[in-house]
């Protein structure tokens, strides 16, 4: 069974797996194994456990669509993150998002500060010309 996870930056994951377990808010859990009937689902916030042999990894998905057809699974996600445990993956993603927002806020402040300074400088430069 083939699993492809696609994010805005391109393919995140493209591997053979034995089966996957999908878990999403409002959905509960369900597994897709080999030769499952074609299926479409949406994952607003959730994670997908990908199992191959004895190994498994988790992909945390935010705002994603899932399509399974003839043993190929596509997961189309706005944001996705792969981790060994679902908690750590989720945490990592959340942290990255929070950091991003925090950074944005900081940049806004910096930018406004810089702009104010620029305006002041321009005013002073004009004043000296007169």
């Amino acid at each position: 069974m083939h699993l492809i996870v696609i994010t805005p930056e391109g393919e995140l994951y493209n591997e053979e797996v034995d089966y996957i377990v999908v878990s999403a808010s409002g959905l509960g859990e369900f597994a897709i194994m080999k030769d499952h009937a074609p299926l479409i689902s949406a994952i607003e916030v959730g994670h997908v456990k990908m199992v191959k042999g004895d190994d498994h990894v988790f992909t945390v998905v935010i705002n994603g669509a899932l399509e399974h057809q003839s043993n190929t699974i596509h997961i189309l996600a706005q944001e996705a993150h792969v981790g060994l445990e679902k908690e750590s993956a989720m945490e990592h993603l959340n942290e990255a998002r929070k950091e991003r927002l925090e950074e944005n806020r900081r940049r806004t402040m910096d930018f406004l500060e810089a702009e104010r300074e620029l305006k002041k400088n321009i005013r002073e430069a004009r004043a000296s010309k007169r």
């Binding site: 696609i6 994010t7 805005p8 930056e9 391109g10 999908v22 409002g26 959905l27 369900f30 009937a37 074609p38 299926l39 479409i40 689902s41 949406a42 607003e44 935010i62 705002n63 994603g64 669509a65 399509e67 057809q69 596509h74 189309l76 706005q78 944001e79 998002r97 991003r100 927002l101 944005n104 806020r105 940049r107 806004t108 930018f111």
Partner: protein, 295 residues
Amino acid sequence: MKSMRDIKKRMNATEKTSQITKAMHMVSAAKLKKAERAIHAFRPLTEKFSRVLSRVFAGGGDISHPMLEGREVHKVLYILVASDRGLAGPFNNRLFKAFDEHVKANHPDKEEFEVAALGFKAYHFAKRRDYPLIHEDVIQMRDDVQFVDFQSLSDRFVKGYLSGSFDQVEVFYNHFVNTLTQDVKHQTLLPLEASPFIASEEENGEGTYKNIYYYEPDAKTVLFQLLPMYVVHILYGMILESKASEHAARMMAMKSATDNAKELIKDLKLHYNRARQSAITIELTDIIGGAEAVK
């Protein structure tokens, strides 16, 4: 005529400016490449997404969703996609001008519309014009823009549309044609056009068999979750286009600035040499005059 020192000073200043613009030109060129790559990377996702949606449409029977049905328009939300920084030639102003004209032509009353501004420039523009904004904070348009950056906005307009606060969502953005040409595009984001999904399904029907999908939990719920995602996807695509346009516009602006600086330096050099020559001539006549006087 200006003195040699003045001209020299001006030449140095121009030279320095041209160095900066040249560096900015090269930075923008690199960023443009990156933005183009981002567009290419994003394309497969959009294609797959609309394919999934078309399958839902084909298999789900008669599905209706407020996002697909137009209603009488009382209030419009305009999303302006601009940039954080200026110095990008006509990139921002062209957009604002188009929007101003559109507002003047269609909305005499400020109650009829609201504005969502993406990027510092758009935010300040909306503030300056006193357009009603739906968000208080500046939403940044970083070069490596992500869904998180404008999630507060996308959540708001999707909810606003579903609850009836707006009846239409339209986007103004710079469409990237190529490095030399970008034009302002004005597109309706909501309500969505349902026909592309239905048409594309007919095309790849192939006549042999049709896939029957299961939906988890059911077709209607899946559609209700997927459509808002799809709308945000489209918006993200537009933002990527706008980003590429911004870098292309800045690249061209900086290139012409560098060229102009070169021209200016050439001119100044001519003046400088003339001034130098005249100084030498004056000195010579002085010496010769002095020598004549001694005789």
